[in-house]
Amino acid sequence: MELLLALTIGILVACAVYLMLDRNVIRFLFGLILLSNAANLLIFLSGRLTAGAPPLIDEGLYAPTGVVANALPQALVLTAIVIGFGLLAFTLALVYRTYRSLGTVNSDEMRVAEPVAQEARR
């Protein structure tokens, strides 16, 4: 299963990268969503997979009995999901704002900071 999941992560990353290489910033945004999912899975998988044993301590015990899932990557992924959401929402706002201001979602046409004309003069 680990190998299969690693392969799936690879597919997710490849799709994400292909989308992020697009001129259209909306596609870039989709790539970002896929990439953050892939990253979360990657962290999760690094902590190894354990089925059917959540990291909870049963009532009356001081430590979990037997092997339970690795809690550390879970904590990391949990915050990563929320942060990823913050990032995504910000990017979404940015894309929208850019579209409103510049009238385009094509990154090659967004040349306010590095205008083409100025480059030719240099």
């Binding site: 959401f85 913050g86 929208y96």
Partner: protein, 139 residues
Amino acid sequence: MNSLILTTATRLLVALLLVFSIYALLRGHNLPGGGFIGGLIGATGFILYIVATSAAEARAALRVDPASVAMVGVGVAALAGLMSAFVGQPFMTGQWLFLFAEPGEKGLPLSSVLVFDIGVYLAVFGGILTLVFALEEEI
């Protein structure tokens, strides 16, 4: 959205979701749940409200500015971390008070950790609602 069923059901559902979010927050230390999840559930509840009615109505129902809620959350979390300073321990060291504790039984635990989790809840809840309101109102 002009769906009578949704609008009517939402009033009930939002209340339910908010209660559930607090439940998730409080049980988080021992069972799945906690500040992040609670905050997300609460925010989802309000988003449902926005979808069913309008952003203006949802804002009115919330009464306070969600950005303020988020700020208060961060502040509460910081204060929870500072509590340990009173007993000379490093920042964010958990402080515990067990009410009605008996030997072998922890009684009713009150802790700076819970306060911190409440801060997380408020920050996530307020932060996400700030975003959603901004997107809803400005677009």
